[in-house]
């Protein structure tokens, strides 16, 4: 039986009916990873022993009849979630040998829900990148075309899900790092409301923007995983303390007359024709399902990239100050004094893009430039958030393309950081405003590369986002296509 592309619910059903055991399912994926990972490079670390032990535990629970929704389901986790005793690298030389002494809340909750963690997935170094090419462990390849990027920064998780090297995966999204790779690999990716999922034990990039979420082959799977991940955590001071709805049970048909806003700025110059056509066709599907599509404007859209590239590097330069070679992480050989130890350890441990962002962040926070750049960006951030609030007084959800184009060639945008930054143009605004958004497949271009669209909701309306996206997947089969 080909178990590689089962839905989470079907796999759980098979486990309960004993079509196969959790150990058999886990072995199936471990063998598949051993065979396929050398050409895809989706995993940095595969935890064979840990996965098999968890699967044995799951089989005992199944035999006892006290299985939870994720019992025995093999998942992959981006390599920036601290996993106690299992190497966590953030795809950096800096943390190449870092074994966390504690567990992140997300991975702890998934394990408590019974999930089997197969391993840690590849990513852009410290989640800084949009193509997975900044990883110290080499780029991830897109299973739809191995010469192309799967996107980033959660590219390893995206490829692992698309290629069937796990049932589902977890990523993180600071400026689009779940949604953009989901779009480029033809899978479903959800960035929850800022604060919905605990950031405890997630290696920090930009603390006011980072959020973890599921990367799956369907909306139903995303709802199941979010259920396990979401909820208040006293260990994260920014975690929101409101009850978590029953996402899976509430995947109901969309209400007649649901109002979906179509922001004109996302369909302007720069959007490629195949993506435009696919998203316009999706609008037709939503209309057939009873929704109304309403054109509107988000006037500050074009300011999101410059705003983000002030705020995110500023926060990153502060967060990454902790890598000093003293308590953990890389330390250079034979430093002659403390200053040299700091500077050489950091310069050897960080890659070029991470250093570029640290420099940028240090510059915009430095004396004399703080008001001109950082404070200015914080003010524009409010204007961007206000745009969304105004839009949500008129409509229930927003629909946009996830990316301007389909997967680009590895190496294509490497030499020009600004070009690379622009590939997140449709996703970054959502992080600045702290909103939930989902990317789901809505077509293919003429080279059979997947196209993704994005639905955006008001804060904490994941329920409405998931139900609408699920209704689309019930009416279409784009999400069921698989790379050959």
């Amino acid at each position: 039986m080909d178990m590689s592309h089962l839905s989470l619910e079907d796999a759980a059903d098979h486990l309960r009916k004993k079509t196969f055991s959790a150990v058999e399912l886990t072995r199936f994926f471990l063998e598949r990873i051993a065979r396929e990972n050398p050409r895809l490079n989706a995993y940095i670390t595969v935890d064979e022993a840990g996965a098999l032990a968890a699967a044995q535990e799951a089989d005992l629970r199944l035999a006892r009849g006290d299985a939870t929704p994720l019992t025995g389901l093999p998942l992959a986790v981006k390599d920036l979630f601290c996993t106690q005793g299992l190497r966590t690298t953030c795809a950096s030389r800096m943390l190449q040998r870092f074994c966390p002494p504690y567990e992140s809340t997300v991975t702890r909750r998934l394990k408590e829900a019974g999930a089997v963690l197969l391993g840690k997935t590849n990513m852009d170094e410290f989640a800084m990148g949009s193509s997975n090419e900044t990883s110290f462990f080499g780029p991830v390849h897109n299973p739809w075309d191995l010469t192309r990027t799967p996107g980033g920064s959660s590219g390893g998780s995206a490829t692992a899900v698309a290629a069937g090297l796990c049932l589902a995966a977890i990523g993180t999204d600071t400026g689009g790092s779940i949604r953009q790779p989901a779009a480029l690999t033809g899978i479903t990716g959800l960035k929850p409301t800022y604060g919905r999922v605990s950031r405890y034990g997630m290696i920090a990039f930009a603390s006011s923007l980072d959020q973890a979420g599921p990367m799956t082959r369907s909306v139903a799977d995303a709802a199941l995983l979010l259920q396990a991940m979401a909820g208040h955590d006293p260990l994260d001071a920014t975690s929101i303390d409101t009850p978590v709805p029953a996402y899976r049970e509430r995947l109901r048909p969309i209400p007649q007359g649901l109002q979906i806003g179509i922001p004109g700025e996302y369909f302007a110059e720069g959007l490629t024709d195949p993506v435009r056509r696919a998203v316009e066709k999706a609008m037709g599907v939503f209309q057939e399902l009873g929704a109304r599509c309403i054109p509107l404007s988000l006037p500050c859209t074009d300011y999101a990239i410059p705003t983000y590239y002030v705020i995110a590097p500023a926060e990153a330069s502060s967060n990454l100050a902790r890598y000093d070679g003293v308590r953990f992480g890389h330390r250079c050989d034979d430093p002659k004094d403390l200053r040299e130890m700091y500077a050489r350890s950091r310069s050897e441990g960080f890659g070029a893009e991470v250093k570029r962002r640290i420099m940028l962040g240090t510059y915009v926070l430095s004396s004399g430039y703080y008001d001109a750049y950082y404070r200015k960006a914080q003010k524009v951030r409010r204007l961007i958030a206000d745009d969304f609030h105004a839009a949500f007084s008129q409509v229930d959800l927003l629909l946009t393309p996830t990316t301007p184009e389909t997967a680009f060639q590895l190496g294509e945008k490497n030499s020009d950081p600004v070009q690379m930054y622009l590939s997140d143009i449709f996703t970054i605004n959502v992080n600045l405003a702290g909103l939930p958004a989902i990317s789901l497949p809505c077509g293919f271009d003429e080279q059979t590369l997947p196209i993704g669209m994005q639905l955006i909701a008001p804060p904490l309306r994941e329920e409405s986002l998931l139900a609408t996206a699920h209704a689309f997947q019930q009416a279409t089969d784009w999400h069921l296509r698989r790379p050959s």
Partner: protein, 95 residues
């Protein structure tokens, strides 16, 4: 906005990074390009706007000030490159 070599070197020092002569040139050029992109923000009037430092408006939670972590000295020291007698060891600071 153009960033000269002296500024790149100054920022690198602040960030505790060592940069080669080639890196000074390439960072100078790239940072200049990125900062030029950022200058588009000046087209927006923002005098009356209050800065937004966080995505969610919330009060910082408080908790009882009680000891909740057990002694983790060994596991924390195990992450370090160099330790001695229960301490992190670094190069000599005082001559």
């Amino acid at each position: 906005m153009s960033i000269d070599a002296k500024t790149v070197q100054h920022v690198a020092t602040l960030a505790r990074l060592q940069v080669s002569a080639e890196e000074v040139a390439s960072y100078g050029e790239q940072l200049s390009r990125i900062l030029t992109l950022m200058e588009s923000l000046n087209r927006l009037p923002t005098d009356a706007v209050s800065p937004m430092s966080h995505a969610v408006n919330m009060e910082l939670p408080e908790r009882e000030d009680t000891v909740c972590n057990s002694n983790q000295r060994e596991s924390l020291l195990a992450c370090a490159a160099d330790t001695e007698q229960g301490h992190f060891r670094v190069p000599k600071i005082i001559e």
